[in-house]
């Protein structure tokens, strides 16, 4: 997507309401943006089916573009389905700094393919000695982990692909 910087600026203003360090570009949900005069057409891919943040993101996009003087139409695109691989490198960094372990990259996921435990690094001390506390966390996208070394509980952005 090659977007004029005015449009990109507006998009980057809109954050995931549940993970406010992640904007919609870094979250990887924007499939396509078309600008015609003062009208913006956005194709958006939902993350998790029932994620309540998606409705809020839609409303926030409309509001942000309205402020910049644009009318917005949003189309939800279901296929191909969103995967955590679409989170940008910048997004992954922001997640880690925020205290949410970023989803494992494909190469790091080999262990999981062989039915082994995934190695998720502690966001507090960086230790690899962590354990899964619960497959499900505070939002649809997170699982709960705890560090065996520093004892810190933390969220892990579950891998979806």
């Amino acid at each position: 997507m090659n977007l004029p910087s005015t449009i990109l600026d507006v998009l980057e203003e809109v954050k995931d309401p549940e993970i406010p360090v992640l904007n919609v570009i870094d979250l990887g949900v924007i499939r396509d943006v078309k600008v015609e005069d003062k009208e913006v057409m956005i194709k958006l891919t939902p993350t998790y089916s029932g994620c309540p943040a998606m409705d809020v993101i839609g409303d926030d996009l409309e509001r942000a573009f309205a402020k910049a003087g644009y009318q917005t139409t949003i189309h939800l695109v279901m296929s191909p389905p969103w995967t955590t691989d679409w989170i940008t490198e910048r997004g992954r960094k922001a997640l880690e700094e925020y205290g949410v372990a970023a989803p494992l990259e494909e190469s790091a996921d080999k262990a999981a393919l062989l039915d082994g435990e995934k190695v998720v690094k502690c966001t507090n001390c960086g230790s690899k000695n962590t354990r899964l506390v619960s497959q499900f966390g505070s939002t649809a996208c997170k699982a709960m982990f705890q560090c065996n070394d520093c004892g810190e509980p933390f969220d892990y952005f579950k891998c979806l692909r």
């Binding site: 029932g50 506390v133 619960s134």
Partner: protein, 266 residues
């Protein structure tokens, strides 16, 4: 995966085909809605924090999936019907969910067994639906299968833990298996609409996966030292709209807001 065949673009212009597709969509989606509602009842009532969060997360996924199905059905129906009308404003006889998903949250063992029986089916179903001739259904299946696999891991893990656990947990989960077993066969029943959709390449023929389903479920039950129940006959009726006594109560709870405040939206 590739579709088994592409849908003839003229297919949905025929009223009868459209009606059958809508009916098939509801038959599929109502399972998600009613199970989601059942699981939602547990919000804040789980045995401890982790399963409480997990169960409500699963409810959220199911309700998310059901929205896509109802949206599609309402688009096909007419300009006036909305997804909310389909979810909230039908009468009991018009809901096509299987009896399994409306069974009550008797105890944690029932919740887990009901979930596992459904999850195994759902994963097989969504896997097969990825080859639907209908583009929208293919997309929904691709999306849903990842979540369904995650659910099955949760319910399967708990089933193992309860079966292999203490004498108490073993006995209670065996009781739940015995009581819920009679509702499993209905998942594979064909209705007139589903037959028509199988014919058109839109719906997978789940009857062909029935054996695979029981093999998988029975395998897990056996490894976790649980007995496979022997039953004389299986319960059915949900797909025809003939529900158990629990359904009315679910709907009363679920439809209260829409009936009290017609047209209300989130």
């Amino acid at each position: 995966m590739k579709p088994i065949r592409e849908l003839n673009p003229q297919f949905l212009t025929k009223e009868e085909n459209k009606e059958n597709l809508i009916s098939y969509l509801l038959e599929t989606a109502d399972n998600y809605l009613i199970l989601g509602q059942r699981l939602g009842e547990l919000c804040g009532h789980g045995p401890n924090l982790e399963p409480d969060i997990a169960i409500t997360n699963i409810a959220l996924d199911l309700l998310g999936q059901v929205r896509s199905f109802y949206q599609y059905a309402s688009q096909l129906k007419d300009d006036k019907t909305t997804e909310d009308d389909l979810a909230f404003l039908r009468k009991e006889r018009e809901y096509k969910n299987v009896l399994l998903v409306e069974q009550p949250n008797t105890d944690f063992a029932y919740i887990i067994v009901r979930q596992y029986f459904f999850d195994v089916y759902n994963k097989l179903f969504l896997n097969a639906l990825q080859q639907s001739a209908d583009e929208t259904l293919r997309a929904l299946a691709f999306k849903g299968i990842k979540e369904a696999a995650y659910h099955e891991r949760f319910s399967g893990d708990w089933l193992k833990r309860l079966g292999d656990g203490t004498e108490e947990s073993h006995n209670r989960v065996q009781q739940a298996v015995n009581d819920l077993w009679i509702y499993t066969d209905e998942l594979f029943h064909k209705t007139d609409s589903s037959r028509a959709m199988i014919e058109a390449g839109i719906a997978p023929d789940m009857l062909q996966l029935r054996e695979h389903y029981y093999e998988k479920v029975e395998n897990l039950l056996t490894t976790t030292t649980l007995n496979i129940p022997e039953v004389e006959y299986f319960q059915k009726g949900g797909k025809q709209g003939i529900h158990s006594e629990h359904m009315g109560r679910i709907l009363a709870e679920m439809q209260y807001m829409q009936l009290a405040y017609p047209g209300m939206r989130w």
